[in-house]
């Protein structure tokens, strides 16, 4: 075999292999991993660094995670200041594109203490990162991810955009179903007393009010004064149930439920940390809507 012929065959083989190799996408949030799977389909390999049931608030990349990110074409972060290590990560991951999926989505600010006497005062006025609890936000995010994938794999652009569009249509149906279910909850009961302040985007989309026991991060502890304010706010709100969260200690909420004579409802999934049949965005929304309706709607 002549040298030019061999070089040509090698080139064809390399091109064929590179076009067949799936795009590797790493995710710093379980719901960004889910989104990558929905949009990328079989064309991508998703590395879920936080893992099913993991808590993105507590995640800090370890050396093994850095290696997996370095081997990826894209790293998907939630953005909106959820990942305080992102700038350092960008410096470390030379050549890997880090996409803050939520950066172009509308933001909510944490209400000032004056507007939210039960909220954690240290978080007041800061950016609320929990955009992934909004169905419309997730729909917009799908397009962001599709375009980010297309930038790395232009041959797959139509596939990514079609997948994002199909996922968007499913999410529209999900939002319609959620609105129908939540409409069963009387207006006076449309209040979510939750363990940490994660549900403002959900509440805005579905016209609920949030009364959060802790701040934006579920590791924040309450002072006795803050707890007393929360108990007073729950009593004044007249709600009949309060909501613990999966994988979180319900002890504080149990004491609030006892003090306010309310029911401790089925736990909500915050931050996409559901497992098994509750893993992923659509399952999270379905589960939460069912838990809320069951606890707050009349029998």
């Amino acid at each position: 075999m002549t040298k030019p012929m061999f070089t040509g065959l090698l080139g064809i083989l390399t091109a064929a292999l590179s076009s067949a190799a799936p795009l590797q996408v790493a995710a710093l949030h379980p719901l960004m991993a889910d989104l990558a799977r929905q949009v990328g389909g079989e064309r991508v390999t998703v590395v879920d660094l936080v893992g099913e049931g993991g808590n993105p608030h507590r995640f800090e990349p370890r050396p093994a995670d850095l290696q997996r990110m370095q081997a990826s074409a894209l790293v998907l972060a939630a953005g909106k200041n959820l990942e305080p290590y992102l700038n350092r990560l960008r410096d470390t991951l030379q050549g890997v594109t880090v996409v803050e999926v939520g950066s172009t989505l509308p933001s909510l600010m944490v209400a000032k203490e004056a507007d939210q006497p039960h909220g954690a005062p240290d978080a007041a006025g800061t950016l609320d990162p929990h955009w992934w609890h909004g169905v419309e936000n997730m729909r917009r995010a799908a397009r962001v991810v599709a375009l980010a994938m297309a930038a790395k794999d232009p041959a797959g652009k139509a596939i990514y955009l079609n997948n994002a569009s199909a996922y968007g249509a499913r999410l529209e149906q999900l939002a319609r179903w959620a609105r129908g279910e939540l409409a069963k909850v009387p207006r006076a009961q449309r209040k979510l007393v939750t363990a940490h302040n994660a549900f403002a985007y959900f509440a805005k989309e579905f016209d609920f009010e949030v009364i959060a026991v802790a701040g934006l991060n579920d590791e924040q502890n309450n002072t006795p004064q803050e707890l007393a304010r929360t108990i007073e706010a729950v009593k004044q709100s007249g709600v009949k149930a309060i909501f613990p969260e999966f994988n979180a200690n319900a002890k504080v909420l149990q004491s609030i439920a006892t003090a306010t004579a309310t029911t401790l409802a089925a736990p909500l999934i915050a931050d996409g940390n559901g497992t098994g049949k509750n893993a992923g965005f659509e399952a999270m929304i379905r589960h939460n809507v069912e838990a809320i309706t069951q606890a707050l709607a009349p029998p």
């Binding site: 917009r140 397009r143 375009l147 955009l161 968007g168």
Partner: protein
């Protein structure tokens, strides 16, 4: 070897001084000139700085012969023909001023026997999506106003 003095040393010094004097005038103008006022921005002529990246979501209940979406100054954002019923999305940039946006939707809905609808959702970066619609049949022209004023 004998050197002959052709010029007086004073004549050379005077030449250098004259040259410096000539340079001094433009230098003085450069250093003492008042800064000119910044050029006024024309409000009527948006620059690319005024454009906000956005996604447009178009929803048609029935097929359309053509859909055209224009800005208030006539810039064409969408120009589509023979559109099937359903949803489609388009990336664009929008001239949002004072948290408001005016668009003109022109739709030719063909020979649909009864009224139908065209929905347009505008999703600028960092802002809530807003949906407007027009209902009718045949050729429709509908001004659409969007605003994001804080209530």
């Amino acid at each position: 070897m004998v050197f002959k003095m052709l010029h007086s040393p004073l004549a050379g010094t005077a030449g250098v001084l004259a040259a410096l004097g000539l340079l001094a005038v433009p230098l003085l103008r450069l250093t003492s000139a008042r800064p000119s006022p910044p050029a006024q921005r024309s409000a009527a002529k948006p620059s690319t700085d005024d454009l906000t990246p956005a996604v447009l979501r178009l929803k048609l209940l029935t097929p359309a012969r053509s859909i055209r979406l224009k800005t208030e100054v006539g810039g064409i954002l969408l120009d589509l023909t023979d559109q099937a019923a359903g949803e489609s999305e388009y990336g664009t940039s929008l001239p949002i001023r004072n948290d408001a946006l005016d668009l003109l939707l022109e739709a030719d809905l063909g020979d649909a026997p009864s009224d139908t609808a065209v929905f347009l959702t505008v999703m600028p970066d960092g802002r809530e999506g807003q949906t407007r619609y027009t209902i009718g049949s045949g050729a429709l022209t509908q001004p659409l106003r969007f605003n994001w004023h804080q209530r």
